[in-house]
Amino acid sequence: MSPAPLLQLRQLVKNYGGVRALRGVDFDLHAGEVHALLGENGAGKSTLIKIVTGAHQPDGGTITLAGETVTALTPATARTLGIACIYQQPALFPDLTVAENLALRLEPAAAGRRVDWPARRTRARELLARLGAAIDPEAEVRSLSMPEQQLVEIACALGSGARIVIMDEPTASLTQKEQHLLFAVVRELRQSSVGVIYISHRLEEIFALADRVTVLRDGQSVGTHPVSAINEAGLIRLMVGREVSQIYPASESVAREVVLSLRGVGCAASGVHAVSFDVRAGEVFGLGGLVGAGRTELARVLFGLTPADAGEITLNGQRVTLPSPQAAVAHGIAYVPEDRRRHGVVLELPIAHNMTMAIHRHLFPHTWLRFGAERGLAREFIRDLAVKCSSPDAPGASLSGGNQQKVSLARWLATKPKLLILDEPTQGVDVGAKSEIHKIVRRLAKDGLAVILISSDLPEVIGLSDRIGVMGGGTLRAILPGQSDPHVVMSAALGTAEKGAA
């Protein structure tokens, strides 16, 4: 190993509001090394990348590049220092040609400069040839496949003389064959003594490609190991091996009649296929899995946003089709979406309006709005769910994240649903509000609601669910009992274990 690593991170700290995303991360990258970064959703991988590429500033710790300590890294300085990042979704200009895209990144940005078109094309051809990529520099980026676009990104990185290349889940949308092409390119990079930080959920890739692996958990690095000295079980243990620090409210409910029953449900457009399970009244059915496993996609199928095109959906014993959200609502399905800022609470509208948005037909049967009834209903939910707000007329934007989530929940509870789908209900919510939401979910199940809980927070899914469906690759991989061993759940999510009994 060379004496001074290409990149050295020491005790890196980053907070977002009250959330501690990184709490003292150490990380080294040497020249000619592929260093894998592994961790659960929310372990801090993305935050780390954002700091190394200069997109975000750390709140503490040091960044050392080739022996020199760097302060105030910006995206521009990161680029000049030779740091390049290849994202899952290439950030290219689709209407420009490959050569033009490369030129935009690599040529000096002087507006009055005369463009040397032949030189531009030659350079692009050279860079692509170095990668062994058969891409026409004159092709419009729009016409390229996803892996070809990634190759263009890598060509950019090479052309800028990058010494550190970060790859964030590069194989997520690639076919097997394309993956092998990409692996060859990564090995090329290693040969030319570039340092590669490789992020992936797929353990087999890490074993095939990486020299060392660092595991992040809860914003801390919990160990760096040579790949040759560790196995899959060891990695999984590092990823999840934490004390369940939070106490989850105990399940007091008795599962009753089957509310929802899926048999081979699929939707080609959103990549969900062959999903079968039952959810009973009074139970919390957790959906676990890694980001991109198809959980939200399944929820959107059940809510009629991307209607199913295969399989049978049975609700309360009746076979149904769910072609639209209106149909889903009519059948007693409620969906509290992920990303409440964008899709849950309309921030400009008052809390009361937000809460009654889905029940106009019931609350105002004669089309005239009755503000008294609306405020009364809102007050009831504000008291019931302990929403902290100044009045029902305050705008949604005046609430904290946890309270916005409660408003979003209230909107759907107001429809008196039989099946409640919660998508990441505690994402970005502080600890206090989180445990309040947990209690609410448990109480709702006790009152006889069937709840589907989607969460990327593994302890939450395990602690709160009566049964856990583990998804991966758009389908259900296993159904496990609540309080299962986190290692078993993680193994199922990663697809390393045998298929569980459904």
Partner: protein, 310 residues
Amino acid sequence: MKRYFRELSVVGALGVGLLGLAIFAPAFFQPQPLLSLVTREAPTLVVACGMAFVIICRQIDISVGSMFSVCSVCAGLLAARGWPLLLVLPAAVALGALLGAVNGLLVAGLRLPSIVVTLATMVTLRQGLNLVRQGEFVNLPDRVQWFGLSQTAGQLVLVAGAVALLVALGLAMRHLAAGRFVYAVGTDAEAARLAGIRPQLVTFLVFGFVGALTGLAAMMNLAQSPQVQPLSGLGLELKVIAAVVVGGVAISGGRGNLWGAFAGLLLLACVAPALTHLHIEAYWEKAIQGAIILLAVVADGVRSRKGGTG
């Protein structure tokens, strides 16, 4: 009070202007010219109500001027053929609704940007009308003017009708579920969809509605003159959009109300007669109107920069 601050500031500006006129040009307030002024603006007010709906829904319709011309000419031809006014009126409204529905179908059905769609229908309708009519005026039978009433009575009917419509629509916007759907779709169409509202349907209906109101406005205009000229709606869209924006309806959708649009319209409409009475050259009219629009837009920009939510 805080909730309506933006609208009240327009009313305040209007009040200050009128007060200034009361002092320096009291002749402005002679009843008959004032009534004529308000009557001339009555059709514009009706279209402005529809435009406020469209803009709150985060869309725009720049074809209202052309729809207005087409509805005027067609209604005029029907009246000239001897149709009774009680049939011409619904025919004009239906024609407007139909034209609006075409816009709505293109915008909501095919999800095309409304500025492009309505630009296309604006040009198509205007040129189509020119081609067919060759700029010919339609002479109206006497019974059409002021609906066969005396001038003052006719003017009062028009003004009262427009104001009644404004009040009804303004109340509906606040007290009907449909009104709130328009705000919800204009603020966040995806959130509205997830709440079980059909944003495309709302958008389609809003376009149809502005069309119907434009047809009605064309009819109100017909009653004011002995002839219909095919260019009657030229520039109407700009006038209406300006009034709505000055009145505090956010061009980015989801915010504003009809009361503000009404105040904005009056403010802009008073500029020209005020200049006449103050013996200032009429060339200043457009410049002053432009300055008012600019002021309103800048004020909104500053407000939203500050992160105000109201």
